[in-house]
Amino acid sequence: MRRLPWTPIAAFALIVVIALLAPWLGLANPVSMDVPHRLAGPSAAHWLGQDEFGRDVFARLIWGARVSLSVAVAAAALACVVGTTLGVVGGFLRGIAEILALRSIDVLLCFPPLLLALLVVTLLGPGATTLIPVLALVYLPGFTRVAYAGVLTARSQDYVEAMRVLGAGKSRIMLRTILPNIGGPLLVQFSLAMAAAVVLESGLSFLGLGVVPPAPSWGLMIGAARATMTQAPLLLLWPCLALTATILVMNALCDGLRDAVDPHPAYRPTARRLLDALAPGLLPTPRAVLDLRGLTVEIDTPHGPIHPVRDVSLQVFPGETLAIVGESGSGKSVTSLAITGLLPGAARVISGAACLDGTDLLRLSEDRLRNLRGAAMAMVFQDPGSSLNPVHRIGDQIAEAIIAHRPMPRAQATSAALALLQRVGIPDPARRLRAFPHELSGGMRQRVMIAIAIANGPRLLIADEPTTALDVTIQAQVLDLLADLKRERGLALLFITHSLPVVAEIADRVAVMYAGEIVETGPTAEVFLNPRHPYTAALLRSAPVEDGPAPEGIAGVVPPPTALPPGCIFAPRCDRAAPVCTTTHPALEAAGEGRAVRCIRWNQP
């Protein structure tokens, strides 16, 4: 559970305390009448005036809270006990108990809540004692569902299985493991039921079907004040205010509890911030399609800014594949998102330059960048299952990419889409155009993503772990397709992966990233044969090789971006580390033809 909603908790506690203390607050008797002073305005003895029978309005408000809350708490508690029992028993015993519990809930849900309440009131007659079972019945299904879902989840977990194997009785397992687990959601449900019960109780009392006069209840007070609203509008206003404020507090409590029990990340919009200054005196690398210089990305976190990508420079040439390889968290994906301007809200580029055919992407307006995205540069993402919109047809999604950059009639775009599907090797493309993403296999979906990427003849294709979600044979086919396209169209391919075999298969050159920095670059074959950075060497040793010795893992863990070591970031895990490594941060230095390495000791024995 995360942060509790303290403000609404305190406000709610205040209301509860006032309601509890009502008899001892020295209030006027809420039911004693004083007809001669009916509808009297506020006075010293009656702060909020007197109602149509001369009763003290303030006292009736406070006592009304007591009635309202006690009915709500009792109803929610009853619903909670019965509902949870049904859910737990149903989920745990399965079989006939499960069917009975769940189906009876389904039947309850067939009646709109207020209707259900009215039905029971018809049967039992109005009154506060009827209200409690009525409201309990209405809110019971929520508890059953939460409890049932909780039990099903808990059942599948190892420790419950383990306890069962150890011979623990069913009831003991239920009490010891499952109830504590569903406590949070049940609490949320309880607060929801309570808030709703306050609303329903006041409504029923308002209709004269709930609390019976002369007992004080906000619903009754509002109903009665209607008759005199022209003479004494305040009489109507006070109970309305009390009721609304109570519900407001209880709703806030529900929302707060829900967020605390089930925290979920949510989209935060932020405008992409452009780098203002021009990149300081850099000569663009001739012929390079992508020329990335000194890219540094910052993310604001509650613990201060972190820099998941620092000073990353690389070039990709036409017809060439550059692979960025690194473990998860090494910053390779963030690098690609920074290039394309698709970084999530909290992250931003703070320095560097990224030139696509000489245009610095980091200093382009969003509109101009959008004109390049999907046209001159295109992307293929890791999970084709979630990257395609589930509710649109494949053909429409490809056509959309074409039309975004080359306005043309729909039919023409569709035939272009057909040709693209054919090119990426999808059998029966005419039929597949009309298919929805879920009707295709993972490999097919990734081919569709590739079709979308090449739709406008990009110069640069960025593929972020495009084969990770696929199984091995499909993986090989997709790699072949990418290699073919690269050759055929002279694409510059920036390929991001964590897999060394994939690098060996597809890349001309490789850049190894570790904890946000490039530690080594060079032609793939040379780097693999003769790694110059201890991390690259360790990575190669840890990769499974056919018929080779068993892979050995790298000792230690990647340092968290909040606590990077002061010297070489690899020093804590490096088998060649010397004292100097912990104080001096090495620069990326040239290390032979086309190679560079970020290690102080690379050329020392």
């Binding site: 409504g203 609203m229 519900i247 949510a266 935060r268 394309t340 990419a401 975004a404």
Partner: protein, 315 residues
């Protein structure tokens, strides 16, 4: 297709169970309906009169015979006669139901027109001034019970400002302008809370969809922000919103009771309250059965609609 048939079958079973539950509930009531009806006003009724009424209501027959008879009549859309004036229950319901549906529909349209655009706008500028103000208004709207809104509306617009009549009903065919003027307040009272629900749902759904990978894909394709919003974000975000709204409208089938009472709108729910007060069992059973059947039917419709909106559900 089989999916549709199965849903239809489940709904039919549910309707049968609901009708049975309502029947049993009424017959398991402590005390005898006939006796209760006659003892209104604290008098102890004459035993002979009670017996006569029991005969008349068919209560002397064994329970299973009564049940069979009840179901048989239901199949023929016969809900019996009102105990108050012997008029057929079906006719009375048929007269009142359209008025309640009109109220619900008007409120639903209001909620869609207000809730979806503001919810989307608030999500797009999350944390901004518009988001904070509209979210606060929605929280307030959700906290004010519908009968409070209604009563306050009557006080302000009818009693103090005298814009509109305090309540009542004029058939559309007799005076369309007056009909709509009378519709405005009750529909508005329901619509305010409903708009807040739709606003919140839309906002949450849009925020959720904005994080989806396919929105990133659309951006990567270079699609314009407006088109992403309409085609990818709102289109998908609407699915849960439509579901919730439809279910909310369903609960309103019984939930317009309070508003009909406040504005003196002679709809089905008002009929139900007076039937409950008069302990008119055939009328209560009839209304509750009809509303529950409509509710089940609506749930079915929502499922079908969901299938149309989301191709993944269709199988």
């Amino acid at each position: 297709m089989t999916w549709l048939l199965r849903r239809l079958g489940i709904s039919l079973v549910l309707i049968w169970v609901v009708a049975t539950v309502v029947f049993l509930a009424i017959h398991m009531v402590p005390g005898d309906p006939a006796e209760l009806l006659l003892s209104q006003g604290g008098t102890t009724p004459d035993a002979g009169v009670v017996e006569e009424l029991r005969e008349q209501l068919g209560l002397t027959k064994p329970l299973h015979v009564q049940y069979g008879l009840h179901m048989w009549r239901l199949l023929h859309f016969d809900l019996g006669q009102s105990m108050q004036d012997d008029s057929p229950v079906v006719a009375e319901i048929a007269r009142r139901l359209p008025r309640t549906l009109e109220l619900i529909l008007a409120a639903g349209i209001m909620a869609v027109l207000i809730g979806i655009p503001t919810g989307t706008a608030a999500a797009m500028r999350r944390g901004g001034a518009f988001d904070r103000i509209s979210s606060a208004i929605a929280s307030l709207a959700l906290a004010v019970p519908v009968f409070v809104v209604g009563t306050l509306m009557v006080m302000v617009f009818a009693q103090m400002l005298r814009f509109v009549p305090a309540g009542g009903f004029t058939p559309f065919t007799r005076d369309p302008a007056q009909h709509l003027a009378l519709l405005a307040m009750p529909a508005g009272a329901i619509g305010i809370g409903l708009s807040a629900v739709v606003f919140r749902m839309t906002r949450a759904a849009v925020l959720d969809v904005m994080l989806r990978d396919y929105v990133r894909t659309a951006r990567a394709k270079g699609v314009t922000p407006n088109r992403i919003l309409v085609r990818h974000v709102v289109r998908t975000a609407l699915m849960p919103v439509v579901t919730i709204l439809a279910l909310q409208l369903g609960t309103l089938l019984g939930g317009t009771v309070l508003v009909e009472f406040v504005f003196n709108w002679p709809g089905l729910s008002g009929l139900l309250v007076s039937a409950v007060n008069a302990r008119d069992y055939p009328l209560v059973v009839g209304i509750i059965t009809v509303i529950s059947v409509l509710f089940v039917g609506l749930n079915l419709a929502v499922d079908v609609l969901y299938g149309l909106l989301d191709p993944r559900v269709r199988r």
